[in-house]
């Protein structure tokens, strides 16, 4: 299952890299990418774990760059 989000207000490339690394470590994530230029987050993960993955990802993003708003793409 693939989910895409727009990270509105993503301002720092290093933060994007940190988010990507942290989300990739979540349980059930096969591949996560944060594209700094298109401001897009793409998560490929196991279907049944997706809701928790999304919740955890939101927390990670809040932690690294509090001003970023997660929008559905």
């Amino acid at each position: 299952m693939k989910k895409k989000f727009i990270l509105k207000g993503l301002g720092c490339a290093n933060c994007a890299a940190k988010m990507e690394e942290a989300i990739n470590k979540l349980d059930g994530v096969q591949e996560a990418t944060v594209n700094f230029f298109t401001q897009k987050l793409t998560i490929v993960g196991e279907d049944d774990k997706m809701p928790t993955i999304v919740e955890e990802s939101k927390k990670i993003i809040k932690k690294i760059e509090p001003q970023v708003v997660l929008e559905k793409a």
Partner: protein, 614 residues
């Protein structure tokens, strides 16, 4: 961004006033400095505080706050304030530059249609392309983008396909033509039946591809992310030692002096310049390439392309047009035009590709009433009566069978012999044609530094060698079945150096396994062919082989820019770190090493977008 600009201006104003106030009014100066500092840096400090609670220690807000507050604490008010101010100005520039590059890439990729004119009964309704379904009827007016892949059912027009293919000559479409989303309708009104949903349409697929390309990271990007991960903690650690050790060990060393030096370290410790500029170069290169009709499916492929040593090419459809055409007319006893006319008439009823090419070369309407008693002899040719004359057209075996002697030919391609009323009248040579830019393509490839060019083909040795000689290709393997091609590519991969790459160029339809096996698979003529887009790493949307060299040049330029940025950014940072450790520079140099370098690196990456002359 505007709010930030106002804050910066206001803060700068306060700072100037603070400098102008006479040093005797110490308290007023300090108050002004602090006001200026809080105006511009308040948000940073707040963010740093929030992040600290979240356990993010080495983030740039924190480092910058620590450095500037440190400077203020040791009494260096002007420096603390100015560094924060410059940092914010730098950030503003940086976000402006990133925004600008985002926009220019989006502009290059401006193929996403905003709406579709859906026909509902007699009415036209503007809808989101997403809502249109297969089989729906849409109308595309002049100047509008084709929203979904569709087939024309009414109207003729010229389509500008340049956004998809980089091809500047407009394409003519009429009833029955397939039109691809992302093209622009130049003049007529087209009514068309939708054949693919929006998600599956060409424009969506291409956009998806290019946007996702940067998620396949290049080696230089991976290196930089890794470097950044260690760089900041190491620099901060050194800063701590620098602040504490020398004053304790060295006799006469002042705490204030060494703390100042260590604060400069903190300013330089953010790796953002590096982390932005490298992927930005690749993003720019990929964006630029797609504007030229070259789709690169990942930064890693763009990087690998520059290291190509062996370029293996398929012949038919890649270097040649894959369409049969009359190449030579060799009459005996009659005129060239007469020979061609008789051949076209004799083959008038046949649907064979050879007949089609004869008719095309003849170029005039065939008057069927002039043809009589047609007899097609499978595997041999045709015997027919044309304008009362008995015409035999076919291969040498047919001539032999009919008892007509014909000269042995030693030509590449298919030879059609003709006899009129039982006497030999000459032959017509039909062969596949080289693409106009095939020769130029090989020449340019060699100029980009490809060490070996190889051609693979299922054709006969003789035909293949001739083509290779004409184009200047060094090695030829002929008579191959599709399975043999994979084997040959594997053999060739063994021959290249460890760092070098092997690229294979094919049409994407029959060559999928070879495309997959090569280090870099390049498919030609991808426009409208899903198979080619699926199978390859790099897709050339047009049929021009010379675009392969263009892609390599874009790759080389991108890589050069990326390396320049790596060396420049790391170089300046290390230099400034050394100088500040020795106490030679001030915090000003440190702030330049941080934001100045970031801006210069971003501006440099911008160049990757510009591929006009490549």
């Amino acid at each position: 961004m505007r709010k930030r600009l106002y804050l910066i201006c206001f803060s700068a104003l306060l700072l100037i006033v603070a400098f102008l106030v006479s040093p005797e009014l110490q308290w007023l100066r300090i108050a002004l400095f602090l006001a200026s500092y809080l105006t511009v840096g308040g948000e940073i400090i707040l963010n740093a505080f929030k992040n600290l609670i979240n356990g993010q220690v080495f983030d740039e807000n924190f480092l910058m706050s620590l450095a500037t507050i440190g400077a203020i604490v040791i009494g260096e008010y002007p420096e603390g304030v100015t560094v924060m101010l410059l940092y914010q100005i730098g950030e503003l520039f940086q976000s402006y530059a990133v925004d600008k590059s985002r926009k220019s890439i989006a502009g290059l990729m401006d193929i996403r249609p905003d709406y579709a004119n859906l026909k509902k009964g007699d009415e036209l309704v503007k809808v989101d392309p997403d809502e249109v379904q297969i089989g729906d009827i849409i109308v595309i007016k002049a100047g509008e983008k084709v929203p979904l892949d569709a087939r024309v059912i009414e109207g003729t027009s010229l389509l500008d396909t340049s956004a998809l293919s980089g091809e500047s000559v407009p394409r003519e479409v009429t009833v029955g033509s397939e039109i691809l989303s992302g093209c622009i309708n130049l003049n007529g009104v087209l009514t068309a039946e939708v054949i693919k949903e929006f998600e599956e349409s060409t424009a969506s697929k291409i956009l998806d591809l290019v946007e996702n390309a940067s998620s396949k990271k290049s080696r230089s990007e991976k290196f930089i992310t890794k470097f950044a991960k260690y760089y900041t903690p190491v620099v901060v650690l050194v800063a701590v030692f620098l602040a504490l050790l020398p004053p304790l060990i060295l006799p006469g060393a002042a705490f204030k002096e060494w703390i100042y030096r260590s604060l400069s370290f903190l300013v330089v410790s953010c790796p953002c310049a590096l982390v932005i500029s490298i992927p930005l170069s690749f993003f720019g290169g990929i964006g630029g390439a797609s504007g030229k009709g070259i789709l690169v499916k990942g930064s890693n492929y763009l990087e690998a392309l520059a290291q190509t040593e062996i370029m293996v090419m398929d012949k038919t459809g890649t270097l040649t047009k894959g369409v049969f055409k009359v190449q030579d007319i060799h009459p005996i006893g009659i005129s060239q035009s007469e020979l061609l006319k008789l051949a076209a008439y004799a083959e008038g009823y046949s649907n064979h590709p050879i007949s089609a090419s004869l008719k095309q070369a003849y170029g005039q309407e065939i008057n069927n009433q002039l043809i009589d008693e047609v007899e097609e002899i499978s595997g041999h040719g045709v015997v027919a009566t044309v304008e009362g004359k008995k015409v035999v057209a076919g291969n040498a075996r047919l001539m032999e069978k009919m008892g007509i002697s014909c000269s042995e030919t030693d030509l590449n391609g298919t030879v059609v012999h003709l006899a009129v009323d039982n006497s030999y009248a000459g032959y017509i040579l039909i062969a596949d044609e080289l693409k106009e830019d095939a020769k130029q393509a090989i020449k340019e490839l060699k100029e980009t530094g490809i060490k070996q060019t190889v051609m693979l083909t299922g054709d006969t040795e003789k035909a293949a060698v001739k083509v290779a000689e004409e184009l200047g290709i060094e090695k030829v393997f002929a008579g191959l079945l599709p399975g043999d091609k994979v084997e040959k590519v594997e053999e060739l991969i063994e021959q290249k150096s460890e760092k070098g790459k092997l690229a294979f160029v094919g049409d994407g339809l029959n060559d999928a396994p070879v495309l997959a096996r090569a280090d870099i698979g390049i498919a030609m003529g991808g426009l409208g062919s899903d198979a080619a887009i699926e199978a390859a790493d790099i897709v050339i949307m047009t049929d021009e082989p010379s675009k392969i060299a263009t892609a390599i040049r874009i790759s080389k330029k991108t890589l050069k820019i990326a390396y320049q940025n790596i060396i420049f950014a790391i170089g300046v940072k290390i230099l400034v770190l050394l100088l500040s450790a020795l106490g030679i520079t001030t915090m000003w140099a440190a702030i330049f090493a941080d934001v100045g370098v970031a801006i210069l690196a971003i501006l440099n990456s911008f160049r990757a977008l510009n591929v006009k002359d490549l």
